[in-house]
């Protein structure tokens, strides 16, 4: 691609940090709560318990929080792992327990205007699908978070399984091993091989490209060397 230099004809510099619009983005940090609910409507409580199997609760509760629909409602965990998020109006919410160390699956909780609760699996694609979960919530940690990818280590198997290496090693094996495995002194075998060679090289009059190249480059020097040291089983087979 061509290297182009762009010289903007119009020098405009458009930063609007101090324009009124910016103040708006500063002020409005959270979404308005009163979309589907009246501000003075009934408020309900979402209850549940978070469990990390095999770990004492006091080791992790101080870093944990319960987030309802992002940070719209926040709850904290008691020292026994149970929690209650107060003051939640009716609606449908995704409840999440967040800790830096353990992973908890989110749960969707529906609250009717009368205060009936229902918990179900979160499905963002089919939002109306209902797979019931127990309520009060029982959220079990599914293991620690994996933040790190395992670094690639260098091992012999990795090295050998590398396609480049395989491409190099396999032909080498064939070159070295094939003459030993196939008995070239057997006349029948020889005939067969010659046939197959002819198939591969349909026009025997046409010089082989590799031979041509070697002749071209080592033309002035003694040709005996080039002939003997050039690779391949074919010339060797022919000589015999």
């Amino acid at each position: 691609m061509l290297q182009r230099e762009r010289i903007p004809l119009q020098l405009i510099f458009l930063q609007a940090a101090l324009v009124v619009a910016w103040c708006f983005t500063d002020v409005e940090t959270g979404p308005g709560a009163g979309v589907s609910t009246q501000p003075n409507g009934d408020r309900f409580k979402i209850e549940g318990r978070a469990i990390v199997p095999g770990i004492k609760t006091q080791d992790w509760v101080s870093t944990a929080r319960v987030l309802v629909e992002g940070e719209e409602y926040v709850g904290f965990l008691r020292t026994d792992g149970s929690f209650a998020v107060n003051d939640v109006p009716s609606g449908s919410y995704v409840v999440e327990v967040v800790t830096p160390t353990y992973r908890f699956e989110p749960v969707r909780v529906d609250i009717t205007t009368k205060g009936k609760m229902r918990a179900r699996l979160v499905n963002y694609i089919k939002t109306s699908e209902v797979i019931r979960q127990p309520y009060p919530l029982q959220i079990r940690a599914s293991g620690p978070h994996s933040y790190f990818m395992k670094r690639e280590t260098w091992g012999w198997t990795d090295f050998l399984m590398n396609p480049m290496v395989m491409m190099m090693v396999l032909p080498l094996l064939i070159i070295v091993l094939l003459p030993k495995v196939v008995n070239t002194n057997d006349p029948e075998m020889r005939k067969e091989m010659e046939q197959s060679m002819n198939m591969l090289n349909p026009n025997p009059e046409l010089p082989d490209v590799s031979e041509l190249m070697t002749k071209l480059f080592s033309g002035s020097k003694g040709s005996s060397k080039a002939g003997s040291s050039s690779k391949g089983t074919r010339p060797a087979a022919k000589r015999r």
């Binding site: 020098l11 609007a16 101090l18 979309v35 409602y73 965990l77 999440e96």
Partner: protein
């Protein structure tokens, strides 16, 4: 697995509102703080680090109204009396949480009986309730009598089984209601004439054996009322005690109740003026003056065991007159302890407070007293200053730790390159100068090489010298003096502007604060804009930053010009700005001192330049025809574009009105001026090129509907050319609402919104392409672009809400882009832009595979492997700042909010750097092996040839 070593996290709590030292164990190291940013935390008094921290909702619903501590429990009243919470302070877990009845919160206190504290009383506007400390259950709740006339303000208890509620009818009388602790029955109820009183909490305290002591606002007399007898108020004129209140000062009383089950002390402080305190004692109904403190900055009581002391902070020089205190900050105030019973000064209790000359005045004093082995009282002091700094000091003045809590509210920041060292500058200078002949050039070349050699030997010597010392002694302390740019420009100076008006310069490598500067007269609701006018590249001119501070109400602005490396105020005097400022823009024009020109547009649409030298004005006149800018007025929904005239007046050239009754403009985003785009197009599967539409003047305008009903609400996005006002594209997302987060870069706009229909967060991406051929491939002009771009758009589901979003930025734009997304859970997700590509096909074809397009999937995944901060969560991320480094692969990232988190990201892995565990041994051994193999095989070949020749 080696974690990234360039991670830096600093956790903050915010400006402290309430603070208690944990005293229930003598050797406790905790101090509890409840802050104005709705955070409740325990700090380690030895190191200043956090034991634990709980971050509540922002806004009034998480606001902490009161903090009471008893033993291992801390009781908080949250959200204007909506919730009562009890925390276990050792573990940091919640004991219980109860919802209180509605009503605005007035006061709360612990209630004790027979030396046992078992209850907490909460006073609301219309009711009082008492709860058990053990489980939060309500013991009783009673409505207060005559709430329509009486304003109940305080609750008091001294352990005799009664709860006193004090109310006032302003300028008429005090109403006192006494409840029985057992069942909430009203024992007594009466009113006492007090025509001078209107606020109990501001002017009254309870002292000694239940004596309500008030001072009237005019400062003429004390009024005393025995709460047990409740006869009449006795008036004691201040003059009879030879006290005089400073004119215009409202006197304040300060008492101390060490144990809620006991009576308060009979000693108390009276503040008579801004720097004048008086210690008084109540003895058999008589007030006696004990000691006068003038000048005194702050006073505080502290109790340990049975002893109570009064700590007084005073300026060191006792003869300083009052006007001098007001004018200049006392640089070294001194804290002394006084016995509360006698008022005598305790020996060897002087503590010198070293105040930062660039900081604010001390505002609050918290004292942690303890008994020494010889039964005398020792203490440590925590001083809070008006720039939100907490300093913990031990005798005789050793600062144990300092917390810069202003950094919990960073508003804006910039990263500035560090200056070159002397030798580096010398080398650079060689290239800058014009040719002065061959010989001198050669000489210069040689001399600079010599300097380099010298520096290298010095470095080697230092390495050798350091290697002999034990490792713990080798410290790479970074100070302002030895700051210099590193090889790949990875270490930079972070200039941070906080809402309190304190500026910080932080070294990005170590996180150390290198300078701080407190701006004294910043209005509380100011908006800030930080601009780098001159970088460090123009030696010997110092780098220069300009901070525009604007009062959001009046629009009036001031400029603060400073050196970003040292934090010092510049000698350049900024112009006074008499008119409200609408817009500010940096031009790439430079004056003769290499400072970029800052244009300020006032509300008369007049333009002023800073610096405004003749040179600059001349340049502006030449360039005026090509300088355009835009203004946004979101209240009237008006976007307008202006052009500069040669006489520095302006001319409106376009206007777009977005009807404010239907939708409002929430944000306008342009592109970052320092962004580079490496490739002009994308190579398609059939080897043709799809050219990007790279308009540097493009603006993304986001609007939200004013109708918030979930069926009718919508968000809109407009792409407008900032020069011509031409609307390039318009998209509407129905059944969606904000908050909308937008990133606008290269030829794409990514935005995130809440879909009310499906109740989920969704991402949408718009990409603009010119098509298969470019119209004018050398120059982009907004005025000459006849073809409208092709617009591609796709949307995705995102399984979390987000706090903020930003795109990575690298030096040349070769590295692929990632989006950095701050999540409410505290993680910062680095999402490859590749996943947000509107050309992701639904059906995979040969060509799309060739292009490496990922097949479309509706849901984007959050993989914790993509979190750039691992388990180091950052709370309430407010903004993410990205800056390029000297390495193309590396982008520097700073996330700020309640915490500050700094790291480096490598969106395309570190393609230009060897891995830190690169196997030098393996590569060198392979090389050597190959070398020897060739030697041996050569020898063998020779032997073979020889043999053949003999044959």
């Amino acid at each position: 697995m080696i974690a990234d070593l360039f991670i830096l996290r600093q956790q903050y709590v915010g400006k402290v509102r309430f603070s208690h030292f944990d005293t229930h164990v003598q050797s406790s190291k905790k101090v509890l703080v409840a802050t104005e940013r709705n955070v409740f935390a325990a700090l380690n008094t030895r190191t200043g680090e956090l034991f634990w921290r709980h971050v509540d909702k922002t806004g009034s619903e998480g606001n902490i109204d009161a903090l009471l501590q008893h033993g291992q429990d801390a009781v908080l009243v949250v959200g204007n009396g909506r919730l009562l919470r009890s925390w276990e302070i050792n573990v940091g877990g919640l004991n219980w949480e109860v919802v209180l009845d509605s009503g605005s919160f007035q006061s709360a206190c612990l209630v004790g009986q027979q030396d046992m504290v078992k209850h907490v009383a909460v006073l609301k506007k219309t009711a009082i309730s008492v709860h058990y400390l053990s489980n939060g259950h309500q013991k009783w709740i009673e409505n207060l009598p005559e709430t329509e006339t009486v304003d109940y303000q305080a609750v008091y208890s001294d352990g005799n089984g009664e709860v006193y509620v004090l109310g006032v009818v302003p300028h008429s009388h005090i109403a006192i209601v006494v409840y029985s602790m057992e069942d909430g029955e009203i024992i007594k109820q009466m009113s006492v004439e007090a025509p001078w009183l209107y606020n109990i909490q501001a002017s009254c305290v309870v002292v000694g054996q239940g004596m309500l002591t008030c001072v009237d606002s005019a400062g003429v007399s004390f009024y005393m009322l025995d709460l047990h007898l409740q006869l009449q108020m006795t008036q004691v004129p201040l003059q009879s005690l030879a006290l005089e209140v400073d004119p215009g000062f409202h006197p304040v009383l300060l008492s101390h109740q060490p144990n809620p089950a006991r009576q308060p002390l009979s000693e108390f402080f009276l503040q008579l003026g801004p720097d004048h305190y008086q210690l008084l004692q109540l003895n058999n109904g008589q007030i006696a003056a004990m000691r006068d403190f003038k000048p005194a900055l702050l006073v505080s009581f502290a109790t340990t065991g049975e002893k109570t002391v009064a700590a007084v902070m005073s300026p060191k020089n006792k003869t300083v007159s009052k006007c001098e205190i007001e004018r200049s900050l006392p640089s070294r105030p001194v804290v002394n302890l006084f016995s509360a019973e006698t008022g005598r000064r305790l020996l060897d209790t002087t503590l010198i407070v070293n105040m930062d000359p660039n900081g604010g005045k001390p505002e609050k004093l918290y004292v942690q007293a303890f008994l020494k082995k010889d039964d005398s009282v020792g203490y440590r002091a925590m001083v809070q200053t008006e720039d939100h700094t907490l300093t913990f000091i031990q005798q005789p003045g050793r600062v144990m730790w300092t917390r810069e809590e202003a950094l919990s509210d960073v508003v804006t920041m910039e990263m500035v390159d560090l200056p070159l060292t002397g030798t580096q500058a010398e080398l650079e200078g060689e290239f800058g100068k014009k040719a002065d002949g061959l010989m001198s050039m050669v000489m210069k070349r040689l001399s600079s090489q010599l300097i380099l050699l010298q520096a290298w030997i010095g470095h080697l010597w230092k390495l050798f010298y350091d290697a002999r010392k034990p490792r713990s002694q080798v410290k790479n302390d970074v100070t302002i003096e030895n700051l210099s740019r590193d090889e790949f420009n990875l270490q930079k100076m972070m200039v941070m502007v906080t809402a309190s008006g304190k500026l910080f310069g932080i070294d990005s490598k170590t996180g150390g604060i290198l300078w701080r500067h407190y701006l004294h007269n910043v209005p509380p609701n100011a908006a800030f804009k930080l601009m780098v006018q001159r970088t460090t590249a123009h030696f010997p001119h110092p780098p220069q930053c300009t901070l525009l501070i604007k009062d959001k109400d009046t629009g009036l602005g001031t400029l603060h010009v400073f050196n970003p490396i040292f934090g010092k105020k510049s000698h350049v005097t900024p112009p006074a700005l008499p008119q409200p400022i609408l817009q500010s823009l940096m031009l790439p024009l430079m004056d003769q001192d290499y400072a970029k020109v800052l244009l300020l547009v006032d509300d008369q649409y007049k333009v002023s330049a800073f610096p405004s030298t003749k040179n600059v004005l001349q340049q502006l006149q030449e360039m005026a025809a090509s300088i355009f800018f835009y203004l946004v007025d979101s209240s009237q929904g008006r976007l307008s574009g202006y052009r500069l005239r040669t006489d520095l007046s302006t001319e409106q050239i376009w206007e777009v009105i977005i009807p404010p009754e239907v939708q409002k403009i929430v944000s306008v985003k342009g592109k970052r001026p320092n962004e580079h785009v490496h490739s002009q197009g994308r190579v398609m599967g059939d080897r043709s090129v799809l050219y990007k539409y790279l308009n540097p003047n493009l603006l993304a305008v986001v609007t939200e509907s004013t109708d918030l009903h979930q069926e009718r609400s919508f968000i809109g996005i407009l792409l407008i050319d900032g020069v011509t006002g031409r609307i390039i594209h318009e998209a509407i997302q129905r059944k969606a609402r904000g908050p909308v987060h937008v990133v606008h870069s290269e030829n794409w706009v990514v935005y995130e919104y809440w879909s009310t229909k499906s109740r989920r967060n969704e991402f949408s991406v718009i990409e603009l392409y010119e098509g298969m051929e470019l119209y004018n491939s050398t120059v982009f002009s907004s005025l000459d672009r006849p073809h409208a771009p092709q617009v591609l758009q796709q949307s995705y589901i995102f399984p979390s809400s987000i706090s903020t979003m930003e795109a990575t930025l690298t030096e040349k734009g070769i590295t692929s882009r990632h989006l950095l997304i701050g999540l409410p859970s505290g993680g910062i997700l680095s999402l490859p832009k590749m996943f947000l590509d509107p050309r992701r096909p639904e059906i995979v074809s040969e060509q799309s595979r060739e292009e490496n397009l990922i097949p479309y999937a509706p849901e984007l995944l959050i993989r914790t492997e993509w979190f750039i901060n691992y388990n180091q969560t950052v709370s309430r991320v407010r903004g993410i700042y990205t800056a390029p480094s000297g390495l193309e692969s590396t982008c520097l990232v700073v996330a700020y909010g309640l915490d500050i988190y700094q790291t480096r990201v490598y969106p395309s892995k570190q393609f230009d750097v060897l891995k830190d565990d690169y196997d030098y041994m393996l590569i060198s051994s392979v090389l050597f092996a190959l070398f020897f193999a060739t030697m041996i095989s050569k020898r063998l070949a020779e032997v073979k040839l020889l043999n053949r020749a003999w044959r």
